[in-house]
């Protein structure tokens, strides 16, 4: 009874919070990440939290919060298979590849585009296993989730400093 009262008094401001997908994602994300980090904290008991494991938790939280999307399944697979988290960026090598390509003739435009699409596929977790069209749709929501993730991480970091 008391619990119900308490719940009533905590009536929500936004009437339908669950409909806004950005809010839903961010909420899920922080709910996954923060307890995980706390657990890490407690388990480690040392002053040093391994940067790798944090990154692992960050990626894990991302994958768990976005389970509607294909790429999250791939990400989850990647994460659970290896305890050593694979970094999602290989920025330097990608950049070099792009430069190389721009030096070629503009005649093979379609080929260039194909290569760039493959490039993009590599960025997306599981992108290489998808068709190009699917990949392009998935990239859209991947980008959105990445953006939300950065916001969430920023606020978490801000809160604790």
């Amino acid at each position: 009874m008391e619990r119900q009262i308490i719940n009533k008094k905590k009536r929500v401001f936004s009437l339908e919070p669950n409909k806004n997908p950005s809010a839903v994602f961010t909420r899920k994300y922080t709910r996954h990440l923060v307890p995980a980090l706390k657990k890490l904290n407690m388990n480690k008991n040392s002053s040093q939290t391994n940067q790798q494991t944090v990154k692992h938790e960050v990626d894990m939280a991302l994958a768990l919060s976005a389970q509607e999307f294909a790429w999250s399944r791939f990400l989850l697979q990647k994460l659970s298979s290896s305890k050593n988290p694979t970094t999602t960026t290989s920025s330097s090598s990608n950049r070099i590849r792009i430069l190389e390509r721009s030096g070629k003739e503009g005649g093979d435009e379609d080929g260039e585009i194909e290569k760039k699409l493959k490039e993009l596929q590599k960025l997306l977790p599981g992108g290489e296993e998808m068709s190009v069209e699917e990949m392009l749709s998935e990239i859209g929501n991947y980008i959105k989730c990445l953006e939300l993730q950065t916001i969430a991480l920023k606020s978490i970091v801000q809160e604790t400093t």
Partner: protein, 324 residues
């Protein structure tokens, strides 16, 4: 929506009108408020199936819609000057759309056309445009004329598919008409459609035309986002030891509600047991009266009246960016 209108305008003025684009333009012309079913995620509408739902099924939907439109007898195709070799860009927006889409909509029979004289074609087109929809349907359909190629003597080929559940596609002038290349073309159109959505998503991408440039931008953007996340997680690993029990309250609150009000202190909320409850309910109030945690730094600000202002800016920040 303005942007969408401008976009369609730009599309129609460009050389290469794809099947999908024209249909889009047509739909948009007739239903300015038509919200494309593919834009679900970006407009923050309920995310049912993710971004594009079922990719590949969109096209038949659009086609079926537009064929209904054609049968509407009130659809008037103005018999304006249709010079095949003229400057398409001079034409008005609406006649262009109507014209092209009218030609495109008429795919009833499975015929292959022979090469015809341009004059004959023109006259037939005017006939088509003047006649009723019934006549139009009966008429043999001509190939779409690309803007400046009409003076060519190259063969104009029209290929119509049987009106089945297949995707209706018309081969353009000078393009191969075997099923492979048509399928290829459809695929390419799908891809460019998706690219347009990505264009809206990636900041600064709308000024870039051309697939390659846009792809570059997108790649760079994704890479920069990933790098940012890496950097932030590095920061986080430094900061993590200071994370406290009530952190999860904080963030769930931030995300859920925009205007924050304060619970009257009579609640008397303490401890992690309650905080679990708060987390689970999903509807949270900020409680300035958390007791028993006066020691740690992050929470001290909650205990005095300064908290609301701090929250507000954070929340505004979050929501400003969430409102993307």
């Amino acid at each position: 929506m303005m942007k969408g209108a401008l976009e369609t305008d730009r599309l129609l003025n460009s050389m290469d009108m794809s099947v999908l684009e024209r249909q889009r333009a047509y739909l948009k012309y007739h239903n300015p408020s038509f919200d494309f079913p593919l834009a679900g995620f970006f407009s923050d509408s309920p995310m049912i199936n993710g971004f594009l739902g079922t990719p590949g099924l969109d096209i038949p939907v659009i086609y079926s819609e537009t064929t209904v439109e054609v049968c509407d007898p009130s659809l008037s195709i103005s018999p304006e000057d249709i010079t095949g070799s003229g400057n398409f860009k001079k034409r008005k927006f609406d006649t262009e759309t109507k014209d092209r889409n009218a030609k495109k909509m008429m795919m009833m029979r499975n015929k292959e056309e022979e090469e015809e004289e341009e004059e004959e074609e023109k006259s037939k087109i005017t006939e088509q445009n003047n006649g009723s929809t019934k006549n139009i349907k009966k008429m043999k359909n001509k190939a779409k004329k690309e803007e400046n190629n009409c003076s060519n003597d190259s063969s104009k080929v029209t290929k119509e598919l049987e009106k089945t559940d297949y995707i209706h596609v018309r081969a353009r002038r000078g393009q191969a008409t075997d099923s492979h290349s048509i399928a290829e073309r459809v695929r390419r159109e799908k891809i460019s459609e998706r690219m347009k959505f990505l264009q809206n998503l990636v900041p600064g991408c709308d000024k870039i035309t051309g697939k390659a440039g846009m792809l570059d931008e997108i790649i760079n953007y994704v890479q920069s986002l990933q790098r940012q996340i890496e950097f932030l997680s590095m920061k986080l690993s430094v900061v993590t030891p200071r994370i406290d029990i009530d952190m999860d309250d904080i963030f769930t609150k931030e995300v859920v509600s925009t205007p924050m009000t304060l619970i009257p202190p009579s609640h008397g909320i303490v401890g992690s047991g309650y905080s679990h409850e708060m987390v689970n309910s999903g509807y949270l109030h900020f409680n300035p009266m958390q007791q028993g945690d006066t020691s740690s730094d992050p929470l001290s600000c909650f205990n005095n009246g300064q908290a609301p202002s701090m929250w507000d800016s954070d929340v505004q920040n979050l929501y400003g960016s969430l409102g993307v």
